[in-house]
Amino acid sequence: MKPGWEMVIGLEVHCELKTATKLFCGCPNMFGDEANTNVCPVCLGLPGSLPVLNQKAVELAMAIGTALNCEILPSTFHRKNYFYPDQAKDYQISQYDEPINVNGHLDLPDGSRVGIERAHMEEDTGKTSHAGSSGRIHGSDYSLVDYNRSGVPLVEIVSAPDMRSSAQARAYAGELRAVLVASGASDGKMEEGSMRVDANVSVRRSVDDPFGTRCEIKNLNSVRSLGRAIEYEADRQIALIEAGEVVVQQTRHWDEDAGRTVTLRSKEDAYDYRYFLEPDLVPLVPDAEWIDAVADTLGMMPAVRRARLVRLLEESGGASESQLDQVATVVDLRLDDLVVSAVAGGVSSGLALARTANEAANDADAARRLDPAAYLALLTMEAAGTVSATQAKAVLADLLVRGGGDPAAMAKAKGFEAMSEDSLASTVAEVVVAHPDEWGRYCEGGEKGDKLAGFFTGLVMKATRGQANGKAVATELQRLRGG
C-alpha cells in the first residue's frame, strides 16, 4: 500500500448451504454428479412449476445469522430479472429489501470487528461451459449448461465497508469461512466454489475523507487471490487519481495468471434487475421459538474456541506469541477439543497444544476422528517420561492411522520402554568419557558451556535411538557436573 493512502474494503461472500436438497425443490444438492441428473421441473424452471421453500435451508441461514450476531427478521423473496442461459427461469429468486439477517458483526483474531450489513438467502444458477479454445463465452463454438447447481441454496453475506487492508480482508475471509464451517451451514471451500468472494475496493487519502468511488472485483478463487487482487486494484486506483484521472464505478474481473483486474462492465452497463416481490412465495416469518431452537443447536464459534484455549494457557502462566499461533492453527483445524480434553485429564496446556498444533495437525482429518482418551493416555505417558517426545510422536502417528488404540501397548510393540535410571546413567557416562574436551567446557559453565548440554543430549538420544527421556538426560548431566 502506497504511503499517504488508505484502502476501504467491503466483501460480499456467497456460500452454498450444506442441505440435502435444493432451495425450492427436492432435488439432491450434490457437487460433481453427471450433468443435468439432479434436476426436476422446478429447478429447470419448466412452465407451470412453482417453488416451495426448503425448511432446512432457512434453518442454516438463521444459524449463519446467529453466528454472525445478526438480528433475524421476517423476510420476503423477490425476483431479480436478467437473461442468462444458466438461469433456468431467466430470473433469480433472492431476498432483496427484507432479508432474513441484518446488522451483525464478525470479530477477527486480531481483535478488530467487521460489521455485517446483511446475510440473505437466494438460489444459485446452473453452470455454463463454453466449448472452444478460450473457455469464455466470446468466440466459443457452442456452450453447454449443467443445471445440477440450479436452485442450490446460497446465503450472501455482505460486510460493511469496514476493512482497511488486504491482510484484514484475508483475515475476514478466513474467519468467516471458519464460522460457516463451525455453524454447520457450509463447506466453505473457495476452490470448489462453495464459498465465493467478491471484493468492493476504494481508496482515499485520509480517514476524514469520504469514501472514494468503488470497484467490485469478481472471480477470486482463493484467499490468496483475494489479497493480491485488492492490492492490485488499490494501486490501480491510486495511480489513476495521482495522474489526475477519476475512478469509474465498475465491475472488474480478476485475472489470476496476469495478476491484474480487467473491466467486466461499467455502471452504465449495469443490469436493471426489475426486482419485484416473488408472487409464488409467501413471507417468511420465523417465530422466536424456532429462532431459539436453531441457536440452541449452534456449536461454539471459532472466536470462543480460541478464547477457551488462551484461558487454559493463562491459567498456567500465560501465552507466548508462538502459542497464540498454535491456538489459531488448532482452532482453524477444529482440533481444539482434543487439547481441552487432554488438559482436563491433567496434561499441561503447553504440551497438549504443542503436540496438537505440530503433530496432530499434520493429519487433521484423522485427528478429528481420534479417540480423545487414547490421545490423553499418550500425552500422560510423555509427561511422565514413560516415553520420550520422539517416541510419543511415533506412537501418535500410529494412533492417527488407526483412529485410536492403547498407546502403552503400541509403545511396547515398538520397543519403546523407558530406560532404567542405571542404564541411562551408564549411557550418559559413556558419552561424557568419549568427549573430554566438550565435557571440560561444559563443566566451566557460563552461557557457552551450558549450551553444550544440547550436544550431549543429542549424542545420548542417538545412542539410545530416541528412547531416552530428554529431561532425565539433562538431570543426569547436571548431577555429573556436580550441581
Binding site: 421441473p41 412452465p47 407451470g48 426489475r274 419485484f276 408472487p279 409464488d280 412465495l281 409467501v282
Partner: protein, 476 residues
C-alpha cells in the same frame, strides 16, 4: 350414471368424441383431441366399476383442459408457437386430481396466447368460434373450454382466470364459469401468466356441475406455496339452501358501462333473487373503477418476468443466431404473437428503475384500495350482483386490432382477481341479438358456498337458452 353401471364410460366418451368430430371443425375449441388417452382412461373406469372398486366422483365424465394446464407427455402449448414441440414431463395438480376422480380427459382447448386476450383470437393456431354463432368470438382467454362445454363436446372443462378468462367466455358462450378464491385451487402445473392473479376454475353446463368440479380440484397442495391450508368446504353440499335472509348488492359501477340489454338481464336476475327471499339493494364500490388500470400494470409486470424463460435455451422453439443473446431475441421475436409482445414490453417498462413506483407500486396500492372497497360492501351484503361482460359476444375481428376496447371486455371481472375473491358467471337469457348473457355473482374470500347457492337460485330463474346448432365442416 357411470358409477351405477347405467352407462359405460366408453359409451359416453365415444358420444362426445363423435360430437367433437362432427362439430369442432366449425368451432375449433380444441388444439388437440387426446382420443386414445381418453379411451384408456374410460376403459379403466369401466374396469373399476365392473370390479366393484370406487371409480371416483367424476367417474367417466369427459373433461376438456385449457391448453395452459400441464399434462404429462401431452403437448401443452398455451396456444403459442414458442412452446412448439414441448411435452411436459409432469401433470398439473388439478390434472392429477381429475385422474384420481376418474375423469376422462378428452383434449386440450384453444385459448388466447398465454391467456392474454378476451376473444381467443390471439391464439397462434387460429380463433375459436362461438357455438351459438360462429361469426362471433367465444370470449377469452378460456374460449376453447367455454365453447367446448357450450357445444356439448364435454360436459365439464377447466379454464384459468387472471382477469376474467373463465367468466367472460362462460357468459359469451352461455355456460357456467367460476373463478374460485385465490389459493383454493393449486396453480402447480398451470403455465403462469400473472402469478398473483391466476386461478384455475370450472366451466360447466350447470351450477351443480361447476360445484362438483370445484370440489374435486380444490384443496391444499404442498407444491403451491400460495395454496391455502384449510379444509376444503364441500360447495356441492350447500347448493339447495336458497337465498332466504341473504342480502344481494347490485353493484352500480358494473352497470355503468354495460349495454342496456345486458343491464336489463341483471335487473331481472335481481328481481328473481328478491322473489326467492333475498334482500336486494344497490351498492357502490367506487374503487372498482380503477381496477382495469391497475390490472394492466400488475398483470403485464408479472407476465414480463414469467415469460422470460421462453428463451430458446431449454425447450420449445429455438431460432438459431450467431450468439446466445441474438438467439434469445430471434426466438422470442418469432415465437410470441403481437399481444404477448405488447404485454411483455409494457410489463418490462412498469418494473423498470425510475418507473416502478409510479406504475407498478401505485397499482399495488390501488389493489389494496379495491380490497378495502369490497370489504366495506361485504359488511352489509353477502354477495354482489352485476353483469359478467358489458356486451354479448362480438364479431370476430371487431376488436382484435384495438387493444384498449378489447381490454374493456374484462372491466367487470378484473376486480375479483385483484381482490383474490370468488366470482361466478351464470347464463341468464339472451341479449337483443339473441346471444347469451351472463350475470355475475361476487363474494368475499372463501365464500364459494354462498356464491354457488345464490347462483343456483339465479340459474333456476333464468330464461331458457336454446342449445347451439352446429353445422358440420369449417365455417365460411
Amino acid at each position: 350414471m357411470v358409477s351405477s353401471g347405467e352407462w359405460s364410460a366408453v359409451d359416453i366418451l365415444e358420444q362426445h368424441l363423435a360430437a367433437i368430430e362432427a362439430g369442432d371443425g366449425a368451432v375449433h375449441a380444441f388444439n388437440l383431441v387426446t382420443a386414445d388417452l381418453a379411451r384408456e382412461q374410460a376403459v379403466e373406469v369401466d374396469r373399476k366399476v365392473a370390479a366393484g372398486e370406487d371409480p371416483g366422483l367424476l367417474a367417466g365424465v369427459p373433461v376438456a383442459l385449457k391448453d395452459n394446464l400441464c399434462t404429462r407427455g401431452v403437448p401443452t402449448t398455451c396456444s403459442s408457437r414458442i412452446l412448439e414441440g414441448w411435452r411436459p414431463p409432469y401433470d398439473a395438480t388439478v390434472v392429477t386430481r381429475l385422474r384420481e376422480a376418474g375423469a376422462v380427459m378428452v383434449g386440450k382447448t384453444n385459448m388466447d396466447e398465454f391467456a392474454m386476450g378476451s376473444s381467443t383470437e390471439t391464439s397462434a393456431f387460429g380463433p375459436t368460434r362461438n357455438p351459438h354463432d360462429t361469426s362471433r368470438v367465444p370470449g377469452g382467454s378460456s374460449g376453447g373450454s367455454a365453447a367446448a362445454v357450450a357445444a356439448g363436446f364435454a360436459p365439464l372443462a377447466l379454464g384459468s382466470d387472471t382477469g376474467g378468462s373463465i367468466r367472460q367466455p362462460a357468459a359469451l358462450c352461455g355456460v357456467v364459469g367460476m373463478k374460485p378464491t385465490y389459493g383454493t385451487v393449486s396453480r402447480y402445473g398451470l403455465v403462469a401468466f400473472a402469478s398473483s392473479l391466476d386461478q384455475i376454475g370450472p366451466l360447466a353446463t350447470s351450477v351443480a356441475d361447476a360445484a362438483l368440479l370445484f370440489d374435486v380440484i380444490g384443496g391444499n397442495d404442498l407444491l403451491d406455496s400460495t395454496s391455502l391450508h384449510r379444509p376444503t368446504p364441500r360447495a356441492l353440499a350447500v347448493l339447495d339452501d336458497g337465498v332466504d335472509g341473504l342480502t344481494v348488492g347490485v353493484l352500480s359501477e358494473f352497470l355503468d358501462g354495460a349495454a342496456p340489454d345486458v343491464v336489463a338481464r341483471v335487473h331481472q336476475a335481481a328481481e328473481a333473487l328478491a322473489g326467492a327471499g333475498a334482500r336486494v339493494e344497490e351498492v357502490s364500490v367506487p374503487e372498482v373503477a380503477f381496477g382495469l388500470s391497475a390490472y394492466y400494470l400488475i398483470a403485464p409486470g408479472e407476465a414480463s418476468s414469467n415469460l422470460a424463460r421462453y428463451d430458446g435455451v431449454r425447450y420449445g422453439l429455438r431460432v438459431d443466431a450467431e450468439d446466445v443473446a441474438a438467439m434469445n431475441t430471434a426466438t422470442r421475436s418469432a415465437g410470441f404473437g403481437a399481444e404477448v409482445k405488447r404485454r411483455i414490453m409494457l410489463g418490462t417498462y412498469v418494473l423498470s428503475a425510475g418507473y416502478m413506483d409510479a406504475y407498478y407500486n401505485q397499482a399495488l396500492r390501488v389493489r389494496t384500495r379495491i380490497i378495502e372497497g369490497f370489504t366495506r360492501a361485504y359488511h352489509h351484503c353477502d354477495v354482489l350482483l352485476g353483469p359478467t361482460a358489458p356486451t354479448t359476444a362480438f364479431a370476430l375481428g371487431a376488436k382484435v386490432d384495438d387493444p384498449l376496447t378489447m381490454y374493456l371486455s374484462d372491466v367487470c371481472t378484473i376486480p375479483s382477481n385483484l381482490a383474490g375473491h370468488p366470482a361466478i358467471s351464470v347464463p341468464f337469457g339472451t341479449g337483443d341479438d339473441g346471444l347469451p348473457v351472463g350475470v355475475q355473482l361476487l363474494g368475499p374470500a372463501l365464500s364459494e358456498g354462498t356464491v354457488l347457492k345464490v347462483a343456483a337460485v339465479v340459474e333456476a330463474a333464468a330464461p331458457p337458452l336454446a342449445a347451439p346448432v352446429l353445422v358440420e365442416g369449417t365455417p365460411t
